[in-house]
Amino acid sequence: MEKSIKKYFPVFVLPTMLAFVLGFIAPFALGIYLSFCKFTTVTDARWVGFQNYLKAFQDTEFYHALWYTVLFTAVSVILINVLAFTVAMLLTKGIKGTNLFRTVFFMPNLIGGIILGYIWQLLLNGVLAQYGKTLTFSSTYGFWGLVILVCWQQVGYMMIIYISGIQNIPGELIEAAKIDGANARQLLRHVTLPMVMPSITICTFLTLTNGFKLFDQNLALTNGAPSNMSELIAMNIYRTFYGRPGYEGVGQAKAVIFFVLVGIIALVQNRLTRTKEVQQ
């Protein structure tokens, strides 16, 4: 059978592969190359070695954006997951209106980042104005504004995943634990949590990558103000590329650094997932 399928390579694989090479592989390879060049358009690239990387590492705003992103990601991962899990637990108790609540909590997910940003800019600036402050007063306000925004957006999504995880726990297991005299807390710690571990890993992974790659919301909510202090890494790279003539190469170098960073995180995450799966 394998042989007869093999002949159909052009039909089955080629279209996807062509698009993949065009949309992914080629830009990626060219991106790596250009990170070692000085250029304003692709055609006038000139090799400069590691100069771009040196400049990137000398850029204090880059470090700030990096640190800000790590902090933001950590806070948002924890908050989103704790909230989503709590809501999921409560919404699997079979209370009235469960379906309606699920519908409501999930909805913000479908709204695009740019739109979300402007919605929350209106609301949060309105609230802060009562205290004579605005979102862009300092990076702290921008930080929490962004955290609130992503919580609002993503809690519903993660909640859905947790709910399906919780519902997959066999009822007999919980009954057995109850018969053994486990109280609610013990039940949570020793039965529910271990059983939804796969969901936790997935949600952590999703929130982690969402946090690191966040751009649209950042752009619409604060646009990095004040003084680029509320700027996440993705936006810092974008601004280096398009905001400053002569720094395209540095932007590309930052992008490569960012890629390596995300790669390492993904690998570590993958390792952790595997060890957890073995345990089960």
């Binding site: 089955f12 279209p15 695009g112 790659k213 992008a255 790669g263």
Partner: protein, 279 residues
């Protein structure tokens, strides 16, 4: 025991009702402000538009004019629907092939797809927009091809995960009956894969519909705008952010999403849950 639980449930329902109302408040707020005169929006966002604050449909009309919203909406719809259809068909075929034919090259393709899921978009954005422009892909049709390339990683990965679970015997039986691989695929395999197709379609549709950076960099924005681009372009020059038009357009762009969601919410929610299990 039973009585206690019911009482507890009643309380929870009440609490969640309150939270749900609060949860919808930001959207309601935008809706209210969309009827306010633009000079008052950022100054009194919480006031109900009455008297000379109220402008009727003016903000909507101006918003539609300024952004070319209808065109943007249709282009976004066109791009999303076509890209998703293309991704589902092409990537599922590709996934089936690489799980059934075990050679070095298929293994490499699989690894590359995994790899693609990790690479952040910033890595690609500049070069991608240049390549797209050089090959004249800076239009909605070209963008669809780019989305296929960009979405291939996740889609192929998810489909291969599912194909592994399909018993190979069914396919063998159909091939012995004289089906070509293509017939076998569309008659036997593809129907079995439909749940995964839905999942992939939903995840990709959510992504593509709302995407901002990729289309803004790739598309020739003189001619084509998506909804996200149109909204961002409202933040015009020299300090003039027309808050009125902004509110109107925000409402207009949220409404279709909500309507679609209310009709298809079960499938969307199940699709997301299923997607997580695979991913």
């Amino acid at each position: 025991m039973k009585a206690r639980k019911a009482k507890h449930g009643w309380l929870l329902t009440l609490i969640f009702s309150v939270i749900s109302v609060l949860y919808m408040y930001p959207i309601v707020l935008v809706f209210i402000n969309s009827f306010k005169k633009k000079a008052y929006i950022s100054r009194y966002p919480f006031k109900i538009p009455k008297g000379n604050m109220f402008v009727g449909w003016e903000n909507y009309i101006r918003g539609l004019e300024k952004t070319g919203f209808f065109d943007a909406f249709l282009w976004t719809l066109f791009i999303t629907v076509c890209s998703v259809a293309l991704i589902v068909v092409c990537c599922s075929m590709c996934a089936w092939y690489i799980s059934r034919v075990k050679t070095l090259s298929t293994k490499i393709i699989y690894v590359l797809c995994l790899f693609a899921m990790v690479v952040p978009f910033q890595m690609e954005m500049y070069t991608l927009s240049k390549i797209a422009n050089m090959l004249k892909l800076d239009n909605p049709w070209g963008l669809i091809i780019i989305y296929l390339g960009f979405g291939a990683g996740l889609a192929v990965f998810m489909f291969t995960g599912f194909v592994k679970a399909i018993p190979i015997e069914i396919e063998e039986a159909s091939m012995i009956d004289g089906c070509t691989p293509l017939q076998c695929y569309f008659k036997v395999v593809f129907p079995i894969m439909k749940p995964t197709c839905i999942t992939v379609a939903i995840l990709d549709a959510m992504w593509i519909w709302n995407d901002y950076l990729l289309p803004v960099l790739v598309l020739d924005t003189k001619k084509y705008k998506t909804i996200s681009i149109a909204i961002q372009y409202l933040k015009g020059g020299y300090g003039s952010i027309d808050m009125g038009a902004m509110m109107g357009v925000l409402v207009l762009s949220i409404i279709p999403i909500i309507v679609f969601y209310l009709f298809c919410q079960r499938y969307i929610i199940e699709g997301v849950a299923a997607g997580a299990v695979k991913g």
